[in-house]
């Protein structure tokens, strides 16, 4: 792999294949020229231009680089689980060029100083763009406001609660009002702490049979309703992160119809798996929010298809092996997922559950809009893109995964969708072995 290849001087030309242009869908690609960190030209003009290198993209898809609104890089403080170097490489391998870093680090990202620490580390060791999310309360304890103005000035693009529940509606209301002051989006993973209690799996058939402690759907839906009402009242821009229930999608759509400024995302594993993944006590699928029933899964997929859910996220949570080597209730939640997001999405496309343009929109323009940005494969745009072979297969394994976390959702079979090349500002962040460059 030539991780440092820089196409900013001689230029790189991609010829053939299909371009995913948000708003237009998949269109054929006569040529796309990358130079000086930007897309210099597209179409016939690019085809005719001279460049130092040319890649034949026949049969492949060229898309704007994927944007992940929910990713854990584990730095600072949890180096045994992952770090900015390992997890941004994993992101690039998954086709992502921008990831939003969860505030759940150690220390928690609740001040400009921690944000600066993260961004310094990214500048020296990261291979994709990292946009930190600040903690909405100090230490994510849910008691005191964080220094939101300081977080914003240091580069945080939003404030959120990570995966912690919010116990107190009065504090939540004040958090929203304070964030609104600075035009910060609040990203909430909705969970009512009292209703979730000690649970760690969907309260349903599988928990009943296996005797696991359930988190009822209402732990999410009650929190969604509360947050929607509070957002409506405070006028803050609300982003609901990691939805898991059909009812949440329904309430989200209704709130939008009422004109509430709300967006939402769902983790890819919620679209691909259900509670039955836990049937053999498989602790990899101990995730939070938990994997729910088939009807929920279908409603979430439909939500992405309809655009009610704006973005698909990885909710990448790398762990050291000890965190998953225990009886299921004693393990830590989370999948090492960022390298499998595209592949699992392509399986949904193969199963005719999702259209490819809708999948790609939810990985590119959808999350970009949540952040108030735009993405495009047009002349002048930043050269953040990925090139993948939708029909090429790869086998996730300890040999192929770049994340420090090895608990990927699929390890026992080959998956469709091999990412061949990921460029961030015209630099190669990932290049598959054997890609002729």
């Amino acid at each position: 792999m030539t991780a440092s290849a820089n196409w900013n001087e001689g230029g790189l030309k991609l010829i053939g294949g299909q371009l995913f242009e948000p708003g237009k869908g998949l269109i054929s690609n006569p040529g796309l020229l990358v130079r000086n960190g930007r897309i210099e030209a597209v179409g016939e003009q690019a085809q005719a231009a001279a460049s130092a290198a040319t890649l034949d993209a026949d049969g492949q898809v060229i898309a704007p680089g994927f944007i992940d609104l929910c990713c854990n890089l584990r730095e600072p403080g949890n180096g045994q689980k992952g770090n900015i170097a390992s997890e941004t490489r994993a992101a690039a391998h998954g086709g992502f060029t921008t990831v939003c870093a969860s505030p759940e680090t150690s220390p928690v990202n609740d001040s400009g100083a921690v944000t600066n620490l993260i961004l310094d580390s990214v500048a020296s060791r990261g291979v994709v763009r990292v946009l930190p999310i600040g903690a909405i309360t100090r230490g994510l304890d849910g008691d005191m406001l964080s220094d939101m103005a300081g977080l914003k000035a240091a580069g945080c693009v939003a404030v959120g609660n990570g995966s912690r529940g919010v116990r107190n509606a009065r504090i939540l209301r004040r958090c929203m009002a304070y964030a609104q002051t600075f035009g910060l989006t609040v990203m909430f993973s909705p969970e009512n702490t009292a209703l979730a209690a000690d649970g760690y799996a969907h309260d349903g058939q599988v928990t009943t049979r296996l005797g696991l402690l359930g988190i009822p759907e209402v732990a999410e839906t009650a929190a969604v309703m509360e947050m929607l009402l509070l957002a409506e009242e405070t006028g803050v821009r609300l982003h609901l992160s990691q939805l898991s229930c059909a009812r949440s999608v329904e309430m989200l759509a209704q709130a939008r119809d009422r004109g509430v400024k709300v967006t939402a995302d769902v983790a890819m594993h919620q679209l691909a798996f259900t509670e039955s993944a836990l049937a053999g006590f498989d602790s990899r699928f101990h995730v939070r929010p938990p994997l729910r029933g088939e009807a929920d899964r279908q409603a979430l997929v439909a939500g992405v298809q309809d655009g009610v859910i704006d973005a698909i996220v990885s909710q990448h949570q790398p762990h050291d092996s000890a965190a998953k080597q225990a009886p299921l209730p004693a393990t830590e939640p989370g999948l090492s997922s960022i390298e499998s997001v595209l592949s699992l999405g392509l399986e949904l496309v193969q199963n005719h559950e999702l259209e490819l343009p809708d999948l790609l929109r939810a990985l590119t323009a959808g999350p970009a809009a949540v952040l108030g940005r735009e993405v495009a494969l047009t002349a002048g745009a930043a050269a953040d893109l990925c090139l993948f072979d939708p029909d090429g297969h790869w086998q996730p394994s300890t040999a192929t995964l770049l994340s420090a976390g090895r608990h990927a959702p699929v390890l026992d079979r080959a998956l469709p969708g091999e990412v061949k090349l990921t460029l961030v500002a015209g630099r190669t962040a990932w290049q598959a072995p054997g890609t002729p460059l």
Binding site: Q205, R209, G211, T274, A322, Q325
Partner: protein, 339 residues
């Protein structure tokens, strides 16, 4: 795989369908459960001899690995292993290694270094025996002695043995399980066993706060009213109620629970005249059951304890047999590979 497909069998059965671990009743067939009951029947006779030993596990080391304390279950497993001539090591882990911060994986590695042949595991977390069975080296049998709220398969099988002794059959039987089903690993295993063995109806009788979500999916009907639930019963199984259930707002008081769901002679009179009364123990007199019923002629609670030893002997010897058969098969395959 669907949510209803209980398939831990790749773990607990050999390729030939013999038991090699005993983790749950999910996925075990009626012939296999009947085989366990028949084997246990043959061991009951051993307990009646003056020299109560058979040499099936001679030279084998059985480790009782109790991460949660239990006097009755541990002592019947210990007696069962000793009657099979095994060497027995009792480890009360709840107070030692794990409280010093050692992980379960590390505890297991240390125990395996002692060359044990079988672990009998009691753990407060659902799925712990599955995890152990997946982690141990091949050749070591894992017997589930109760895990979290998940399963207590030997308890359920000794209950089935007790029912068969008194009723002679399962088909046509109406059985009720009364009380705290939500927290009960025993109830989950009993419902499974009764369904597989062909009971006509399994009812659970409890208030809504003590029932898991969609409990009917396990193969039972739900009855909130005990008087209605007792009607036509052949067997009534009372579950133990933990005192801490009042604290989590699951029940208002022991008194109200006893008034509504405690078994007294009046309520028992609503069942069939030959209805038997069971309880996995230890019983709370005056909370789940009246003393006159617990000690009365329809109570078979002490038979359950005696049968516990026979069932545990059966399961231990069958699992060890499965492990031996598998070991021979492995050796044979290795030899063939060399030849």
């Amino acid at each position: 795989m669907t949510a209803n497909d209980p398939s831990p069998n790749h773990l607990q059965l050999t390729r030939d369908g013999q038991l090699r671990h005993f983790l749950t009743l999910d996925g075990l067939s009626q012939p296999l459960l009947t085989d366990i009951l028949d084997t246990a029947d043959s061991f009951i006779e051993v307990g009646e001899r003056s020299i109560k030993k058979v040499p099936l596990l001679r030279g084998r080391t059985v480790v009782n690995l109790f991460f949660e304390s239990s006097t009755r279950t541990r002592s019947t497993f210990e007696l069962a292993a000793k009657r099979l001539s095994a060497d027995v090591l009792n480890l009360d882990i709840s107070t030692s290694a794990t409280s010093k911060g050692e992980s379960l994986s590390d505890t297991l590695l240390n125990l395996e270094a002692m060359a044990s042949d079988m672990f009998v595991v009691r753990h407060s977390q659902s799925g712990a025996p599955h995890f152990i069975a997946e982690s141990v080296t091949p050749g070591v049998a894992i017997i589930n002695a109760g895990d979290g709220r998940h399963a207590h398969p030997t308890q359920a099988m000794l209950d089935m043995l007790t029912i068969r002794q008194h009723k002679g059959r399962f088909d046509g039987l109406k059985v009720a399980i009364v009380g705290d089903v939500l927290h009960s690993r025993v109830a989950r295993s009993q419902i499974r066993a009764l369904n597989v063995l062909g009971a006509e109806e399994v009812r659970v009788i409890a208030p809504g706060t003590l029932l898991p979500r969609d409990v009917e999916d396990l193969g039972c009907t739900v009855e909130y009213d005990m008087a209605r639930g007792m009607k036509d019963l052949d067997v009534v199984i009372m579950l133990r109620l933990q005192k801490e259930r009042m604290e989590g707002a699951l029940l208002p008081s022991e008194r109200e629970f006893y008034r509504l769901y405690g078994l007294n002679q009046e309520k028992l009179g609503l069942a069939k005249p030959d209805c038997i009364v069971m309880h996995p123990g230890p019983i709370n007199r005056g909370v789940e059951i009246e003393s006159a019923v617990a000690d009365g002629p329809q109570s078979v609670i002490l038979n359950q304890v005696t049968n516990g030893i026979a069932i545990r002997m059966a399961v231990m010897s069958m699992a060890m047999g499965g492990q031996m058969a598998e070991r021979q098969q492995r050796q044979q395959e290795q030899q063939e590979g060399r030849a």
